[in-house]
């Protein structure tokens, strides 16, 4: 019955190259994650010596060092909830004019089942396209501001997803699996790399108002420890839950903290050196600092009038103002060293980017919301010399059909759609992959969500096949058993 453990491990390492040796002890892991606190002396509350307390803050990740020199340090993920239409934004398909109104079954041939099974005629884009910048990339009228920074952007026009439903596709985009319960991409980044920020969580989601279908589990840590959960911020004060002291005055809280510390000292001494207890004690120091850091972070009014105007903080359109604040906040977060920042869309535009009907009105609202703030974010990062170390990703969970749903909408299309990346490690101003002449199926350099994840991890110095976590009898990966780095996009 006995099996030589070493033998089983040896065999384990040979399979797909992703099963590694048996897990470390928790203690070992805590230490590696920067959670370990053994030997760290009790520090004064205001001291910064206890930074090692939280994995999400100022900590190293599970990786002792990146697998290779990283091109970028941080990520801003602009999540376009609902699925923007590729053929109305960046994937210019003049052929659609020619086939306008014709049956897609005749024009395209085999048409995959759609979410609403209400397939109309081929639908050309109602917006004009133009080439912009030195790179000459096509951008539709919908993005006048983004068109001005198009030379910084790198398009993937051959994205595919595995799911036609929002929730599955959202989970897939965020966790590499279509089902609930896997760690979010931001969780993987902080688990692997930790965060350079001392007093804020390493994975922040700035919720503009729309939590995507599938809920907060899109940002959850799944089977990874709760330390790697996305922290939900809002673009207005107080920003994050429970960071506002509950006491009317600071002295009241300080007294409490001192009293807590006295009691904890006794308990810790009595228990000897228990890292779980000590790191929980140290947590209070970080929590205390967060109470200061968060209001400081949220002081968007301290930005110059010019910056605020550039982002659109005072724009006429209410949703633009919200997203402007989100983008500005994102910049401030990466400035402070936060590893992974995700933005969700503001509410108030009807149904996200999900224009099953009223494409024109819906996409105009959504574009109006994000166009100026994102362009400003790119410019701002560049001006501050941060763009080259910050990876910016713009993506929806899928695209939309080049044929109509009913008469004036488009249905979900996971078979070919467009995303873009910019900044750290990305070759600017290029376009990778292509859909067929209708913008329906990716046919050239097809790129999967796993490829996207692999590429993002690669840019931050992580080999996606080697960042694993043992769960349910497997060494789990963000990319499962798939994914290839899209080397053509690398600078």
């Amino acid at each position: 019955m006995s099996l030589d453990m070493a033998d089983s491990r040896r065999r384990a390492t040979t399979h797909c190259g992703r099963y590694q040796t048996a897990p470390m002890s928790r203690r070992e892991m805590l230490r590696n994650c920067g959670l370990g606190f053994a030997g760290v002396a009790f520090a004064a509350l205001e001291s910064r010596a206890a930074h090692a307390a939280g994995a999400t803050a100022g900590s190293r990740g599970i990786l002792q060092a990146p697998h290779h020199p990283p091109a970028a340090d941080q990520v801003i993920f602009l999540y376009m909830d609902g699925g923007p239409s590729q053929v109305d934004t960046f994937d210019f398909k003049p052929a659609l004019e020619k086939f306008s109104g014709k049956s897609p079954h005749e024009v395209i041939g085999r048409v995959e089942p759609t979410q609403f099974a209400n397939i109309g005629g081929m639908l050309p884009s109602p917006w004009k396209f133009q080439q912009h910048g030195e790179s000459g990339q096509w951008v539709s009228q919908l993005f006048p501001h983004l068109a001005t920074v198009v030379d910084e952007l790198s398009f993937v026009k051959s994205m595919t997803s595995n799911f036609s439903e929002h929730t599955n596709a959202n989970y897939f985009l965020h966790t590499g699996s279509g089902l609930q319960g896997r760690p979010s991409i931001g969780s993987w980044f902080t688990y692997g790399l930790g965060s350079a920020c001392d007093d804020l969580p390493g994975f922040v989601v700035i919720n503009g108002g729309l939590i995507p279908p599938g809920g907060l589990d899109n940002f959850n840590s799944g089977f990874l420890p709760a330390a790697y959960q996305g922290s939900i911020f809002k673009p207005d004060r107080p920003g994050v839950a429970n960071a506002q002291p509950s006491e009317p005055g600071p002295g009241l809280q300080l007294n409490k903290l001192a009293m807590i510390r006295r009691l904890d000292e006794r308990f810790a001494a009595q228990q000897g050196s228990v890292d779980a207890v000590e790191s929980a004690i140290a947590n209070y120091e970080l929590a205390y600092r967060m109470q200061t850091a968060v209001p400081e972070l949220m002081s968007l009014e301290k930005e110059s009038a010019a910056t605020r105007a550039a982002y659109g903080c005072d724009a006429e359109y209410a949703q633009t103002r919200i997203f402007a604040n989100q983008c500005l906040l994102a910049r401030r977060l990466v400035e402070r060293g936060v590893r992974f920042v995700e933005l969700t869309c503001p509410a108030g535009n009807g149904d996200r980017w999900d224009q099953h009907a009223s494409l024109r009105e819906g996409h105009e609202k959504n574009c109006r919301t994000v166009d100026q703030p994102i362009a400003a974010l790119i410019n701002d990062l560049k001006q501050r010399d941060m763009l080259k170390r910050t990876l910016v990703v713009w993506a929806g969970e899928f695209g939309r059909t080049p044929f109509a749903q009913g008469s004036d909408g488009r249905d979900h299309n996971p078979f070919g759609f467009t995303i873009w990346m910019a900044g750290g490690g990305i070759q600017p101003g290029v376009s990778y992959g292509a859909t067929d002449e209708f913008g329906y199926r990716a046919v050239e350099n097809r790129t999967t969500i796993h490829d996207l994840h692999a590429t993002m991890l690669h840019l931050l110095g992580v080999d996606h096949t080697r960042l694993t976590y043992r769960y349910s009898g497997r060494d789990m990966r963000l990319t499962d058993v798939h994914g290839e780095v899209v080397r053509e996009l690398l600078a």
């Binding site: 099996l3 928790r26 759609t114 809002k234």
Partner: protein, 1177 residues
């Protein structure tokens, strides 16, 4: 499309499904098994084929470079890894193909998978990165057309075919891994320091410690131990009264150990025990009350399963029984009754299967099902077996002795049953009523038959005479209306004359004659032929006979049906899957009687059933109700299904055009690929409603053509209170013929049919035989034979004719009928329509799943018969019966030679008390799990659990708690910590942080806000401003959760409480037997600033102040409540200092501060934040 031939018997269904499935594939894809010519000859032929120079040049110039460039990265011997088992570097390899069949068929590009793939077909899109250009596609297409010319007849080296090279040796794997070994009860070791040991457990531990020279930690202090034990067993702290009782007993008994034992007894008997251990179990079965996904549809009445768990743990249901109830509680012959209410508990266990996610409106409904089933299997195997069977979905398990065959063999059990809401409170009661009713009916049937036969006897004896006379009179009575008395005198005279001649009663003769005349226009009357002949309509009669001949069963046109889901007229196709007793004990059969619902003030009428069918008993007309019941989400929500569903066999659709033969208004839910949440744009057509007449059969079409090739069963429910019957459900491209009109096939009974004079005698003979059959059935207490039913009903319809002159018999008949209906009504009044509902399995016919090649629903392989894991002795046995066979599966899993269920559970019990399992990876006993630190102890514990303890969780926990090992302090001896820093040898009990729920429950208990109310509907989750998204509940639950324990807060998948998540409560997606323990600033921020915590601190301060004891006494009480100990003097002093400091901040004197609610709230808040409060030493 392959046409199906007739079915032999329904046990042949699985084979049939295979045919349909492959036929479907053939239609939709290329390269499936049906299209696959035999491999052997062609492979052999490969070398023999000779190609001309031009073809070979084409291959070399055009084809080979293309293959090299675009295909060989993954499909050649030189590839790093050959994908899909397919190589394209030799002609024979192309012909042999890969996992999903040949890549090409020479000369047939349209049937070649390779060509489909490069055209980005359904199954494959190759090359995966970029589609070939149209020219390139043309080159390969032409190449296949040319017959695959190849320059050399290579003999390829296939050693690198990754997918096929893997070896899976089940026996070897079993032999090499510890956990497959049977449980052998080990001898308890002799140890030196036996004085320390209190139990066998301790001796196993001490043996380990001694061998490594490690000293165990000392005893934990009794107070501290009491707190540990209380928190572990109840998830709540000891109350002040508990502490006082314990101290009193210590004093009285003079022995802390004995006092602790008494406390232990109280804890195990406390109802809070079940709440704590139910919550542990809920982690395993991913308990949730919504289905997540986009709009969070509810999982209706999921809390009933939660309450079932609480009761089961409190009642210490033996674990084997508990497992059996989970796997097959719906099939247990004698279900375990609720200890008080006597209702069916066992069936509630099956609810756990349905606690997973569900998707509304999935585009790929089959894939969605595969994912759901995978989750169920994953949860089942990890929870009960500690094995990761889910890893074998796409390939044989990489490390464990679990094959891909095993995975699909288990999947069949799940496909053989479906979901329902079961009225568990009324079901057993109603079954008793129904059984009385069925007995009453059997008795009454005999009486009715006897009474009728007697009453009609006299008339039938002279029937031929009356009919002969009527034949002569018939032409005279055409166009005459009204009875004898109202006829013109001349006519009456004539009738009297004929009657007198034959010594017949004139009035009765007139009645018969009138009936005969009327029958001329009633093809369904048995007198129809006679009437036509007697009125001289010979031609019509001839035509009629011709028609009869056509409709006789043996000559009837062949039915156009291609498949059958249900047919009560065919015993081979009869299945009986009903949800409760509303349809009676079985299908109604010819010769059963029904009492037709009588209009007000009219006598009830009796009818004999003519056609076998499922008939909803009108007595069970009301839907199940209870104010607590939640409806299903989506379009099914408005249907009253519970307790009145009838399901068909599960089949794979061929044409997808279904027809149901029904009477009355009904509803059908076609359960396609077990899809459940019928909401959103797709799949609405699986639901169908109809209003059909109550008194005649009608075919209803259900168009499921989009689901050709999908698996389906149909669940029928009546739409309202009226008549509802279903006789058949068939698959057919056109509407099948209705059953032949009544009497048509009775024609055979009429001998010498064309001769008028013989007819009356023949009719009399048949009727006399009918009466004789009635007498026979009455005396033998059987049903009237089907052949007699039509006649018997006609006689019933004309009872005054047959009972003429037998007034006393008629009175008797009426009395009998009245007595019967009275008795029936008396029983009906006892039927219980109110009941709570719970999720449960609904068993159907056994369905075996196909192995899905690489886990893909698009590449189904061979059928894998249901069985348990091969490594656990599973063989494709015939022993699973006609249903799913889950009960047998449960018995197999619980068999003595399967080590897993008992070992895994014993280890879980240990894990929850000691903070780490003997096998630390509690859900994975496989190769990638960790090995047991104390394998012998684990097996000893397991044999104790399974043997002497009779699977009792409580007895086993008691044994563990009473051990010296559990009693150790949390601080190790210094030398122990140095020798074994990981505590693998158990030299102390580790300090553990409380889990999320106990933290919240503790706060409530300490503040005095805890409402100990048990069970019942969940409390809605409190929504913070940071909880948003689709499916957000309409309103927020109370901040303090109404003071209820955390397991009563509704578990909404997409709105999990942030406080719980921060403290690592699991996301309910799969089995989590061991929670992570993380450390995040959000935890500190919550305890410092969350409104709930602040609110409870205020609450606590208020209640403490209200007691009005002295300051020090109050501090002492608060310490005791929160920490289970008294404050030290220094702590009292620093508490006072704290009051003064807070007072100063608030601008009040120290004297006032000690009376200020704000200051006391702050003090309470401090205690909530201490590590001593949050950690269990």
């Amino acid at each position: 499309m392959k046409q199906l031939t007739s079915f032999k018997c329904w046990s042949g269904w699985t084979a049939l499904i295979a045919i349909i499935a492959s036929a479907w594939l053939a239609d939709n894809q290329i390269g499936c098994a049906e299209d696959k010519p035999a491999n052997g000859p062609r492979a052999d032929d490969a070398s023999a084929v000779v190609f001309d120079e031009a073809s070979l040049e084409y291959f070399e110039k055009k084809v080979r470079p293309l293959l090299v460039e675009r295909c060989f990265e993954c499909h050649a011997g030189s590839s790093e890894k050959v994908k899909g088992g397919l190589r394209l570097d030799s002609r024979s390899a192309v012909l042999a193909g890969g996992d999903t069949g040949p890549a090409a068929i020479a000369g047939m590009p349209a049937k070649s998978l390779l060509i489909d793939a490069i055209n980005y077909g359904n199954l494959y899109q190759m090359p995966p990165k970029s589609k070939m250009s149209a020219d390139e596609v043309q080159v390969l297409t032409r190449w296949v057309e040319m017959g695959l010319p190849w320059t050399t007849a290579e003999n390829p080296d296939r050693s690198n075919d990754g997918a096929k090279a893997g070896t899976f040796d089940l026996r070897k794997r079993m032999g090499e891994h510890w956990s497959w070994s049977e449980i052998v009860r080990p001898a308890v070791p002799d140890v030196n320091s036996s004085g320390w040991s209190r139990s066998a457990i301790d001796r196993f531990i001490v043996a380990g410690l001694e061998s490594r020279g490690i000293p165990p930690a000392p005893h934990a202090e009794p107070d501290r131990f009491l707190r540990r034990m209380t928190l572990d067993l109840m998830g709540l702290p000891p109350e002040l009264s508990d502490l006082a009782t314990f101290r009193d007993e210590c004093f009285a008994l003079g022995d802390a150990d004995e006092a602790l034992d008494r406390s232990l007894d109280r804890l195990l008997a406390s109802p809070a025990f079940g709440e704590r251990w139910a919550r542990h179990w809920m982690d395993l079965v991913r308990f949730a009350e919504t289905r997540g996904h986009e709009f969070e549809p509810s999982i209706p009445n999921a809390w009933q399963y939660r309450d079932y768990l609480i009761r089961a743990f409190n009642n210490d249901v033996p674990y084997d029984q508990f497992v059996r109830e989970h796997l097959a509680g719906d099939l247990i012959e004698n279900p375990r009754p609720h200890s008080v209410q006597g209702t069916n508990e066992s069936i509630l266990g099956t609810g756990f299967w349905f606690l997973g996610e569900e998707v509304h409106s999935p585009v790929d409904i089959r894939q969605d099902e595969a994912d759901r089933l995978d989750n169920r299997l994953d949860v089942m195997s990890k929870t009960f077996l500690g094995l990761t069977v889910g890893c074998a979905r796409c390939h044989d398990h990489k490390f464990d002795a679990i094959s891909q065959q095993d995975y699909y063999a288990l999947t069949g059990f799940l496909l053989s049953a479906s979901y329902r809401q079961f009225p568990f409170e009324s079901a057993d009661h109603n079954r008793q009523i129904a059984e009385q009713l069925w007995a009453l009916r059997a008795k009454a049937r005999a009486a009715f038959l006897a009474r009728f036969a007697e009453g009609a006897q006299a008339t039938v004896e002279r029937l031929d005479e009356y009919l002969s006379a009527a034949v002569t009179l018939a032409p005279r009575l055409v166009n005459v209306t009204g009875a004898f008395e109202s006829m013109p005198e001349s006519l009456r005279e004539e009738i009297r004359r004929v009657a007198d001649e034959r010594r017949l009663a004139p009035t009765l003769l007139a009645s018969w004659t009138l009936n005969l005349v009327a029958a001329a226009d009633q093809p369904s009357s048995p007198l129809h032929a006679l009437a036509q002949l007697s009125l001289g309509r010979q031609q019509d009669a001839a035509r009629l006979l011709e028609q009869w001949d056509k409709t006789r069963p043996e000559t009837a046109a062949k039915s156009p049906t291609t498949g059958t889901l249900l047919d009560f007229s065919d015993p081979a196709r009869t299945c009986w899957y009903v949800d409760g007793v509303a349809y009676g004990a079985g299908p109604v059969a010819p010769g059963d009687f029904v009492i037709a619902a009588a209009p007000v003030n009219q006598e009830p009428r009796l009818r004999w059933i003519e056609r076998p069918a499922a008939r909803r008993d009108p007595l069970f007309h009301n839907p199940v109700t209870s104010p607590d019941n939640e409806a299903d989400p989506g379009a099914l929500g408005g249907w009253q299904r519970a307790g009145r569903s009838l399901r068909t066999l599960s089949v794979t659709l061929d044409s997808g055009s279904l027809y149901y033969l029904v009477k009355g208004a009904g509803r059908a839910y076609a359960v396609v690929d077990s899809h459940l949440v019928i909401a959103g744009p797709l799949h609405g057509r699986v639901l169908l409603e109809w209003d059909a007449p109550a008194d005649q059969w009608k075919w209803i079409r259900h168009d499921l053509t989009p689901y050709r090739g999908h698996r389906v069963h149909v669940e029928f429910v009546p739409k309202n209170e009226g008549e509802f019957q279903i006789a058949k459900a068939v698959e057919s491209m056109e509407e099948p013929p209705l059953p032949a009109p009544r009497n048509a096939w009775l024609a055979d009974a009429l001998v010498e049919r064309s001769r008028l004079s013989d007819q009356p005698g023949a009719i009399k003979k048949v009727m006399a035989e009918t009466l004789s059959a009635m007498r026979e059935a009455a005396s033998s207490r059987t049903a009237l034979p089907a052949s007699a039913v039509e006649w018997a009903n006609w006689m019933l319809d004309h009872q005054p004719l047959f009972f003429a002159g037998a007034e006393s018999s008629l009175a008797e008949w009426r009395k009998l009928l009245q007595e019967y209906t009275d008795q029936e009504q008396a029983l009906a009044r006892q039927i219980q329509f109110s009941s709570r509902l719970a999720m449960a399995m609904f068993d159907g016919n056994g369905v075996d799943e196909r192995l899905l090649v690489r886990g893909s629903t698009r590449t189904p392989g061979d059928i894998v018969p249901r069985r348990t894991l091969e490594a656990l002795g599973g063989t494709p046995a015939d022993g699973y019966g006609t249903g799913s066979g889950r009960l047998r599966l449960a018995d197999q899993l619980l068999a003595a030679d399967n080590p897993y269920p008992a070992r895994v559970m014993a280890n879980r019990l240990w894990h929850h008390l000691f903070g780490r399992g003997i096998v630390p990876t509690v859900d994975n006993f496989g190769v990638l799990g960790q090995r047991p630190t104390h394998p012998e102890l684990l097996d000893w514990l397991t044999s104790q659990f399974r043997g002497p303890h009779d699977w009792s969780v409580k007895r086993t926990l008691r044994m563990l708690v009473q051990s010296q090992t559990y009693r150790m302090d949390s601080r190790p001896e210094p030398s122990a910590a140095a020798n074994d820093p990981g505590n693998e040898s158990w030299h102390h009990i580790p300090v553990r942080r409380l889990q999320a729920e106990p933290i919240r429950d503790l706060i409530l208990a300490v503040s005095g806000r805890l409402d100990r109310k048990m069970l019942g509907p969940p409390i809605e989750v409190h929504l913070t401003p940071f909880m948003d998204g689709r499916g957000k509940p309409g309103s927020s639950g109370p901040l303090d959760g109404a003071g209820r324990r955390s397991l009563y807060i509704k578990v909404r998948r997409n709105f999990l409480p942030p406080m719980m998540l921060a403290f690592d409560s699991p996301i309910p997606f799969s089995t989590i037997g061991r929670r992570t323990v993380s450390n995040v600033p959000a935890q500190a921020l919550i305890l410092l600033n969350d409104p709930f915590v602040v609110q409870q601190a205020n609450e606590w301060a208020r209640s403490e102040l209200a007691i009005g004891v002295g300051v020090d006494e109050q501090i002492r009480n608060m310490y005791l409540s929160a920490l289970g100990r008294e404050p030290e003097t220094a702590e009292l002093r620093s508490s006072h200092e704290f009051f003064a400091q807070q007072g100063a901040e608030l601008g009040i004197s120290a004297e006032n501060a000690i009376r200020d609610i704000r200051v006391w709230s702050d003090f309470a808040h401090v205690l909530f934040n201490t590590k001593e409060f949050l950690f269990v030493p």
